[in-house]
Structure formats: structure tokens, C-alpha cells
Amino acid sequence: MECNGCEFRPELYYDEGYQIWVRREEDGTLTVGMTDLSQTIAGKILTLRVRRPGTRRPSGKPVATIESGKWAGPVPNVFDCEILEGNEEALEDPSLLNIEPYDAWIARVSPVNGADAALADLKVGEEAREGYCQRARDEDIHCERNIR
């Protein structure tokens, strides 16, 4: 499923700005990554650094930092969690975030108040698709996933 060439996955949860996606895992943990929209806006990602496993990250405190040639900033965090692990493949080769934004996850986290509470304010399904496509249209974002 795409909007302006930007891939959208309806089974994932999204923040308000569609910068990050969150996947619910069977063991109650959550996996966090960047959306196709985000990686396109960032451009070629040169550096990814994740907070050390075991670190508590309250809502608003980023789980990771990314740098591209034209943008630097946080990977936002919208719920209270503890970092379990970073994706070492993506840490070693951050351009994977550009190439496979939904497979190259960034961090796996444990939500402090449980997965249901963490996901309660996120967008999913049709509502998420509409918002995602709206942002792509409004900001005229056309995604590219082959930046290396």
C-alpha cells in the first residue's frame, strides 16, 4: 500500500506525525522504526545511535538519534519504555533505514505500563492510512528507498 510512492503498512501503529512506526510483539514488547516518510525527509542516513539497553525512556525522550547529510535529530518516543536492544545491523549500516524502513527496525523496547497503554494513543489501520497519505500529499513528499 503506497501514497506518493511512500509505503504504508496497515498492521503497524504510528505517532501523530507519522515519523515512527511501532509493532506489537507476541511477548508484550514493542519494536520501533522509522516510516518511509521519515527516512525520505531525512535523506541518506549516515549515523544511528540507540540509547543503551536498560535505559528508561519516558515519553518525549528519544530512543535514538539519527544524522543524515541534511538533517539531525531524535527518533521520537511517545510512551514510557525501557530499551531492550538496538538493531545492530542498522547500527552498523544505517543506510538500511533508507532501503528497508519497515524491516530495518531501530530498537526493541519494553513498555513500562504495558503494550495496550503504550499503543492507546497511536494511530493504526484506516485512520493511520488516511493521516499518512494526507501528510504525504500536504507536504508533497515522494518517497525514495534506494538511497545508498
Binding site: 540509547r51 543503551r52 539497553p53 528519544p62 544524522e67 539531525a72 535529530g73 531524535p74 545492530e88 552498523e92
Partner: protein, 132 residues
């Protein structure tokens, strides 16, 4: 686990004193880029514009200034920094010299217009001071 790939810094405060302005556009992007990174690493970051730096907060200037040809406009770097949590402070005593009216000429991205005493306090109370 490769420790070098993970972030493990303490929270710190950083003040970036920005004196560069439109006469040296090549110096007008990095402070905001660095501020964004520091902020996303949990540092409490303030950029204080003084001397010619105040012109970057004058309406119409950062919207039309590029650090390098074909690159992003400075206003976009400033907005990225704010999105990352950086606060932008403007030095009021420097404004008259550039005929900038704080009521009329300032871009919306500025968080506070304050005097030199505030800058002095920030310099003394911050963990790190950087000047550009």
C-alpha cells in the same frame, strides 16, 4: 554488543552563543545541526543570538539564506533544531544596532528575547559553552 554504537551520556546543559550572521552564511547551519544532535542526546540546549547573529532572527533573512548553494535554507535548520527541543534566545541589546524592532521584525521561531544578564547567567550555569 558493540558499546560504541549506543548512547550513554548524562543529561547536560549546553549554551551555543551564535555571533555569525548573513555576512558568513557558511557558518549559519552547523550550530543548529549540532544543537539538534545535542538535544536529541538529552542535552538541554539553548542557542543565544547576539552581535551579527541577531540578524538570523530577523524576518526575511533566514528564509532567504543558504549556508551553501543549493542547500537548505537557514530557517529550516532553525526549525529542525526547535523540533529537536532546542530553545532560541535573542539578545535584546544587540537589536538596535541592526535596526531590528523586537515587536515587529522577529521570526516566530524565537522563544525569548532577553538581555545580556540572561546570557551571562546561562554561560555560568551551563555545563558547556560553544561559540560560533
Amino acid at each position: 554488543m558493540n558499546d560504541d554504537l549506543y548512547l550513554d551520556n548524562d543529561e547536560q546543559s549546553v549554551i551555543i552563543v551564535m555571533t555569525s550572521g548573513p555576512s558568513t552564511p557558511e557558518r549559519c547551519a552547523t550550530p543548529f545541526y549540532l544543537g539538534s544532535i545535542l538535544s536529541s542526546m538529552d542535552a538541554e540546549v539553548r542557542i543565544f543570538f547576539t552581535m551579527e547573529g541577531v540578524r538570523l532572527c530577523q524576518r526575511g533573512v533566514p528564509e532567504n539564506l543558504q549556508a551553501m548553494e543549493g542547500g537548505k535554507y537557514v530557517i529550516e535548520f532553525m526549525r529542525d533544531a526547535r523540533s529537536a527541543g532546542v530553545e532560541l534566545h535573542l539578545c535584546s541589546p544587540a537589536l538596535p544596532g541592526y535596526e531590528i524592532d523586537p515587536e515587529r521584525d522577529i521570526i516566530d521561531e524565537v522563544d525569548e528575547v532577553s538581555g545580556g544578564g540572561v546570557l551571562a547567567d546561562l554561560i555560568l550555569s551551563s555545563d558547556k559553552v560553544i561559540t560560533f
